[in-house]
Structures are given as structure tokens and as C-alpha cells.
């Protein structure tokens, strides 16, 4: 609805969606045919296929392979506007949000899908030396550090210094950490092998640190064991039941051991967006405790979806904070807005688990599918490849991604190893 229509009083209910990730975009799409005006607000202009972020971080895919402008993605949806901005405040009593500190927008319904950032176990000062992986900017920062480590190792003649630059520590043995460790060791040992003269990139150490007893802890135990074997066979130094107790620019402390390293990546612990606290009660990691219909008890016109929300399935299990959960939650919130406008009863959110996968390297992956189907190896890897290409269908780069992967597979060459302007790091 234009400003003019609004001034003349033709007023449709207005839905504001905070966040253009899986949850927010699904909510917007669920409102495509609804008699509402939708405003999607995100601090980035792009919608990212997050499960492949680690491939951008490891210089395998280019940012544009896995991201599209939100505007472009939603441009066929005439009732929807997109605003590039940072929501700084939600006022659920006045039903307004403040963007970039000064611009106020009113809503009739609000969908909060602002996601989460990493948590550093009470050590926020570690972030500087151990960046995480949630956004495209994070991925590019990680890529810079990863590629620069080899440049620095090549440029020094001090062997201890060289070893420190060739040691990469990844904290967190969940899917992101395991996938990062797998792809980074492969790149170091194969793709980069012939690019350097002084250093032997096959000697690069990739250490994966997990505090709990096993990697991929949300998967069945047999698949964790399989993944552990795969990672070790590929050359990853996996440490389970190991706590990180210190992160500095020059080393990390793993329990009592000091590991000299200049390159630490963080894939452990989540902290939901601080916006959650402005709309309802939250748990220890900042997730909003939502009702079965995904709304907030005190504000039935406010919905929270994705990994910012904590909700329980009818079977008593919590809904996992994964892409599928966010997408299904976004669709449910949209549906419940439509039902409310049509004076129909809202429906409770029922999460449908479509399976869980992780890929560790060429021909190495694990899959946990509904119906108890669990397997690893080439078939899991091909299935992963197929599904991810299929899921990228909405993105326009599906064919390009396929070609990149095909090319990389055939040649071990990675063409996107570009470093942006040189940063000054200690």
C-alpha cells in the first residue's frame, strides 16, 4: 500500500517481519496472497542459503552462489516491501519497531525472525580472535583469515611461526564445526598444495575441539562415530571432551595444553538476538518462550520463529534451531496471521523432521533420515549434494553451483580464493 492510499484511509493490516533469513522469508511467502501489507526488514540486503556458508568461508563457493538480494527474491510479491535497516527497538505496547535508531514503523502483526549469534561461554572478548559463522560477512572474514594464514606461513622463515600459521583450530563439533574442519583440511592438503613454494600445505594441522563426548552431538551415536572416523581419516585432529579455556591472538588453551595458532574459528554455542527480550520471556540463551501457535503469551499479534524461539513439539521434544524449523515456523506464523484475520482458530506448530545430514569431505557424509534410515559414505554424500542443489532451486545460481562443484571435483581447483584488501592484524 502506498503512502497515498494510507493517507486516504484505505488501510490493510500491516505485518512487519524482522529478519530476511529462512524464517522471515518463509513468513513473507506465506503471506503472498493475504490481504495485508508486508514489510520485511533486514540489516543485510541478501537472503543467504546458510547451510552452505561454510563453503564460502573455505573459499569454495563465491558469495553470489549462495545468496540473492531479498528484494529480488520477493519482487513478484506485490504486497511486500523490503527495508534495509537494523531494528533497534520493538515496542509491543505501541506496536511499533524502531529502525536504525530513528525511524518508526507501525504494525498490526509482527514476526520476529532475527536469528542468533555465537555465544562465547561468557568470554565475549574471544570473538575478536575466534570469529563465528552466521552471515556472509562472517564467511568472508573467515575466508580472509583462512587464506591469509597460508600467506603468512609462506612469508616467514621462522619455523615456529610457520607452524603456528599452519595450525587452524575450530571450536565446536556440531555440523558447522565438523563441516568446516573437513573442508579446510581438504583444501590445505589438496587444492593449495601446488600454490606455495616454501611451506608444505599438506602439513597443515586442523584441530576440531568439542566439549562433549562426540562430534555431531544431535545425530544418532553411530553416525557420530562414523563422522569421527571420517574426520580422522581425512587428517583432522579431533579432540572430544576438551574445553577451550583461553583464546588469545597467538594461542589457545585446550584444557592444560597450549596450542600455538593464529587462526581460530568458533562454531560453538548460540545466543539469540537481543530483540527477543523486548517481546517476551526468554530462556538462558535468550530464546523467546513461545506459545504452541508461535505467538508470545502477552502479545498474540507477535510471533517469534526460527532459532530465536524455543518451542516444544507435541512429543515433548524441543524444535531444533535448524533451517527446516525456521522455514516451517515462518509458514506457521504466516498461516496463523491469516487465520486470525479470517477469525478462524490458530493452529499449533508441528515440526516435521525431514532428516539431518552433514558432509565432511568427498564421498564422506552422514545422513539421519526419518524412519530410522541412517547411513554414511558415498551414497550419503551424493544425497547431500543432490538435496542441496535441489534446495538452491529458488536461488538463481543452482546451475552455477553445480558447475563450481563439478569443476572443483574434477580438478581440485578453487577459483574463489580471493582476499579482499589487506587487513592489519597483529
Amino acid at each position: 500500500m502506498s503512502a497515498k492510499d494510507r493517507a486516504e484511509g484505505h488501510r490493510r493490516p500491516r505485518v512487519i517481519i524482522i529478519g530476511g533469513g529462512f524464517g522471515g522469508i518463509a513468513a513473507a511467502q506465506g503471506l503472498r496472497h493475504a490481504n495485508v501489507d508486508v514489510l520485511v526488514i533486514d540489516r543485510h540486503n541478501h537472503y543467504v542459503f546458510q547451510p552452505l556458508l561454510y563453503q564460502v568461508a573455505s573459499a569454495t563457493l563465491a558469495p553470489s552462489d549462495i545468496a540473492v538480494p531479498i528484494r529480488w527474491y520477493l519482487r513478484g510479491q506485490d504486497n511486500t516491501e523490503v527495508l534495509l535497516g537494523d531494528v533497534t527497538t520493538i515496542n509491543p505496547v505501541a506496536r511499533t519497531v524502531t529502525v536504525d535508531g530513528d525511524r518508526e514503523e507501525s504494525y498490526d502483526f509482527l514476526v520476529v525472525a532475527a536469528g542468533s549469534r555465537h555465544a562465547y561461554f561468557g568470554h565475549p572478548e574471544w570473538e575478536r580472535d575466534a570469529p563465528g559463522l552466521k552471515s556472509l560477512d562472517d564467511a568472508l572474514e573467515m575466508r580472509s583469515r583462512f587464506l591469509e594464514a597460508f600467506e603468512r606461513a609462506e612469508a616467514t622463515e621462522d619455523e615456529a611461526e610457520q607452524r603456528a600459521w599452519q595450525t587452524i583450530v575450530i571450536v565446536g563439533g556440531g555440523p558447522t564445526g565438523a563441516e568446516l574442519a573437513g573442508i579446510m583440511v581438504l583444501i590445505a592438503r589438496h587444492a593449495l598444495r601446488r600454490d606455495f613454494r616454501r611451506i608444505d600445505t599438506t602439513q597443515t594441522r586442523v584441530i576440531l575441539v568439542e566439549g562433549g563426548p562426540r562430534v555431531l552431538p544431535t545425530m544418532p551415536e553411530e553416525l557420530s562415530a562414523r563422522a569421527l572416523d571420517d574426520l580422522r581419516a581425512m587428517g583432522v585432529d579431533v579432540r572430544v571432551q576438551t574445553m577451550v579455556t583461553e583464546v588469545t591472538p597467538t594461542h589457545v588453551r585446550l584444557g592444560d595444553e597450549v596450542v600455538e595458532t593464529r587462526t581460530v574459528f568458533w562454531a560453538a554455542g548460540n545466543q539469540a538476538s537481543a530483540l527477543g527480550r523486548q517481546v517476551g520471556p526468554t530462556d538462558r540463551v535468550g530464546r523467546v518462550l513461545v506459545e504452541p501457535d508461535l505467538s508470545v503469551a502477552a502479545h498474540p499479534e507477535v510471533f517469534v520463529v526460527g532459532d530465536m524461539a524455543v518451542t516444544t513439539q507435541p512429543n515433548g521434544r524441543p524444535v531444533p534451531g535448524v533451517a527446516q524449523g525456521a522455514m516451517q515456523g515462518g509458514r506457521c506464523a504466516a498461516d496463523n496471521i491469516v487465520r486470525t484475520l479470517e477469525r478462524r482458530a490458530r493452529r499449533p506448530f508441528r515440526y516435521q523432521n525431514r532428516g539431518d545430514m552433514a558432509t565432511l569431505g568427498r564421498h564422506r557424509a552422514v545422513a539421519d533420515l526419518p524412519g530410522g534410515l541412517r547411513f554414511g559414505g558415498t551414497i550419503a554424500w551424493l544425497l547431500w549434494l543432490f538435496l542441496h542443489i535441489a534446495y538452491l532451486a529458488g536461488f538463481r545460481n543452482r546451475l552455477i553451483v553445480l558447475l563450481e562443484w563439478g569443476w572443483e571435483y574434477l580438478t581440485w581447483q578453487r577459483g574463489v580464493r580471493l582476499l579482499p584488501g589487506r587487513r592489519s592484524r597483529a
Copy 2:
């Protein structure tokens, strides 16, 4: 040669090449079979196909489509090392260069191919509001400003503000300025048309400002006239014989006229790298006056190539500062190093003009080929397309570029319109 060999006294002549652009890479490749050790030093890790930078700046191609890591490009060349670093000083008497302020490297021969930056007619303070286009970082900065302008226009309700954000001023009517103006007006009027709700992107004003009497001033007059017609037909507001007298964050002054704009791009004037002054006499814009063999009079072991050098062809005309000139110069310098080592006479540099082209839009281009062949239109455009794809052959993304272009041509869609993390601009 490894540090170990060097310590043991097996010493081959060492060639340092400053700059991994067209000139430096051509010089390195020319030394592929020479009995020397080569060190290529660049402050970026990538070799860029510069003639297509404007397509990255306009969000048409992704950085990895037109750039490859220098290391990867030269990895088959066993006598060559690559160092990521900034040469801060050249000492032609001691025959050393200093990298990043503290690391010293010795040479027997030096090839300086460090290129140039933009010159702001004595107003360096304009750079902040009118960035130029020489590197991939420049292109990404330009892309951010270009895309953000539409976001800002969409976000404001103030009509004057909206108009200012939808006004793009490009200073300099040479190939870079003309190509930028052409592609930006096309993107605004076609590709972005359906992405926005409040603004009409087809109303975007692109103003191209040229101080001289015609655009593409190095081309024959008839092609300048053709390009002017093409640009005007596409909707570019071309101003010739117009001087920019002021650039501020909110407006530019063109002669007496004040144009409200938030987005100014600079494609006028060059200033050669300041390294030139450290090796020999320079002209007004900092280019080194080199001998016919491309060496410096006082230091026959130092060569300067590309747009950092000024040299005259046997026919009395200066060699133009274009990609071809840099590549041919790099090869000539390499050849003269080999000749010197083999105690053969050096050869003078003879520039072979293989023609000059510029593309302005779909089916709109001009070509000036050897033998007086001059034409414009679809044939020139197809030739440009074909040649650029062929020249990208050394780059691994040739096929991808072709697909991107094909896709864009068919659909007017551009998938690489990604904005990095939000910058704070006044």
C-alpha cells in the same frame, strides 16, 4: 630457489616484480624458462582482468568471475614465488626493496609494474565522495554505493532526498566512465525495475561528465560521436566540455550548476604509483621516463612497464596506458632480462596496437581496429563479447562468465547484487 640453496651459495640471478597486474604477470610468464629466481610482490592476492572491473562495480559479475589468485595462476612456474605485501621503498643503489616497511628483499633485476591510481585534479579530498575504479576493492566499494543508493531512495519519503539518491554522477568520459554510465543506466532502468515499490528506478538519472569536447577521446571522432548517440539513446545525460569544480557528500558542482547527488564515481585522470619517483625521472603524472628497452637510464637493471611508464613508439606516438601495452611491456622487459643474462643486445619496445573497443550496452559498442576498420552496433558488441571471453581464457571462469552473461541477457536478472555489511555513510 630455497633458502637452503641460497645459503649454500647456489645462486641464480633474482628478479623481483612489483605488481601482479597485466604487466607484472606478463613479465613473470616471460621468465618462465629463464635461469632466474622470480619473486612477484603484490598487495593483493589476486590477478584481475581489469577491463571487466566495471561489471563487478555494477553488480553484473562476481569478483571471482574476473579474478584468480596470483599464486594459483603462476603455480606451474617452478622458478617463481609470490609474496603478499606492500612495497614501501625501492633502493636502486643497494638493489633492494622493502616490503611492508620492515622486510628487505634483494634483486639483480627489478620490474616495476605497480600501476596507477586516480588523480583528482589537485583535490585529493574528493576521493572520499567520488571513489575510482582500479582494484577489486574499488569495484566492491562502487557496487555498495550504487546498490545502496536505491535502498536509500526507497527508504525515504522526502522527494528531494529520493531524487538525490537516484542521481548518479560519473566523472570522466573515457572507456571506464562511458562503460560504467552505460551499464548503470541499463541496470537502473531494466534489471532493478521490479525490485522496488516506492521508487521508480527507470527515473534514475545517470550523468556522465567529460571535461573535453567528446567521450572516448582516444578513439577516432566518428566513434566518439557514435558512442555519444548510443549513451544518449540509452538515457545517459552526457555533458561534454564540462568541468567538475566541487564534490561534496551531498552535491557536485558542474561548471555553475549544482547537482544534488549522493553517488559520484571517478573515472578521470591518473597518477602513477609513487614508487616511480624512487627509480628514475618522472613526468607530471608520476610516470617514469624509460629508455627504449623499458629500463631506467641510471639503472639498466630496473625496468618499468605498464601505465607507470612513459615511452614513445618509433612513430613518435606515446604507448597508451592500456592492458595490451602493459602485457607487451612486461614481455619485453622479461625478454631484455634474458638477453642481458645471455649477453645479447636488448631490443627496443615496439607496441603493437591490436585495436580498441568500448561497450556501452546491449548491442551497443564501438570498435577501432588496425587497418582503419571502425564500426559500432551489434557486430562491435558481439566482437567485444567474443574477445573478452577469449581473453578470459587464462582465467578459469570463462564458462561461468559466459553463463552469467547469457542468463542476464535472457532475463535481465542480476544475481550478484549483494551488499556487504552495512557501512555508515553520512
